[in-house]
Amino acid sequence: MRLAFPLVVSALLFSLGVFGVLVRRNAVLVLMSVELMLNAANLNLVAFDAWWSDALHSGQVLTLFVITIAAAEVGLGLAIVLLVFRNRGTSDLDDLGLLDESAEQEALPDDWLDMDGAGRVAPGREAAS
């Protein structure tokens, strides 16, 4: 088999993933597009493994590792998305601009650095603000 076939499929799959990451605004859909890109990389690894007839099977073992890491990434990523949804009521990436200075978000209080998770100011820090 020509090596060009898997390379073309994986390049096109990767660009589809790039398109999805840029155009989708739902966080779960963005994660799915990242999975597409990871699969394109996996296809390349397997193709080069077969091309090289690697005795150590480096490409296939690395693909196994990538699949495992992708599973861990999806588990953690979806946990974060669910937490964000519980706190903010949305999983739309355009609405989650708290780190973005230009975004119109509810203003943080001046002493937000001293607050704990429940919004209380830690004792002994009141004077600092």
Binding site: F5, V9, L13, V18, L22, E35, H57, I67, L82, F85
Partner: protein, 171 residues
């Protein structure tokens, strides 16, 4: 073009077509289901490229676990079942431009450098459970162990994240 190449081209077309639907369909639950089709087609491509074990791992972990996890997340974030409004036209054009540029660079690099190479599928050792297992536990055992620690860390992290806020007593 022989039979294997024809099968690979057809499977690649299935993977690319369903991948296109993943990133464009307006019904987001359908996107997750098309992702299962796309990952299954990629698993069949693995099978054609002699990676037998990887094909089954892909079906088990990606199609079986990751897609189900994504569907759960879509349900828990109360994703709309019906068609959602599409992205603004300017963003679609911009994203398509960036994606086309990325794809063009990758295609040109791959075809200019390796366009004439041929994979010798007859002479290649099939990557079944025995071959991959012996490679994994002889040459790659240290990364394998490191990966198990990473999985444990991810598991603990996911539990801590989804446990929610501590209540007033700090528990």
């Amino acid at each position: 073009m022989n039979g294997v190449e024809l099968a690979f081209v057809l499977l690649g077309a299935v993977a690319l077509g369903s991948g296109f639907l993943v990133v464009t369909t307006t019904r987001i639950v359908h996107a997750a289901l098309w992702l299962a089709v796309c990952l299954g087609a990629v698993a069949a491509c693995f099978l054609l490229l002699t990676a037998e074990l990887l094909a089954w791992v892909q079906v088990l972990i990606y199609v079986g676990a990751v897609v189900v996890l994504v569907l759960f997340a879509l349900m828990l974030t109360r994703a709309p079942i019906g068609p959602a409004p599409g992205a603004p036209r300017r963003r679609v054009l911009l994203a398509a431009g960036v994606a086309a540029a990325t794809g063009a660079v990758l295609l040109l690099t791959a075809l200019a450098g390796l366009g004439d190479e041929v994979i010798d599928l007859e002479g290649a050792e099939v990557g079944g459970a025995e071959a991959i297992g012996s490679a994994l536990f002889r040459a790659w055992v240290l990364p394998f162990e490191a990966l198990s620690v990473l999985l444990l860390a991810a598991l603990v992290g996911a539990i801590v994240l989804s446990r929610g806020r501590p209540d007033e007593d700090g528990r």
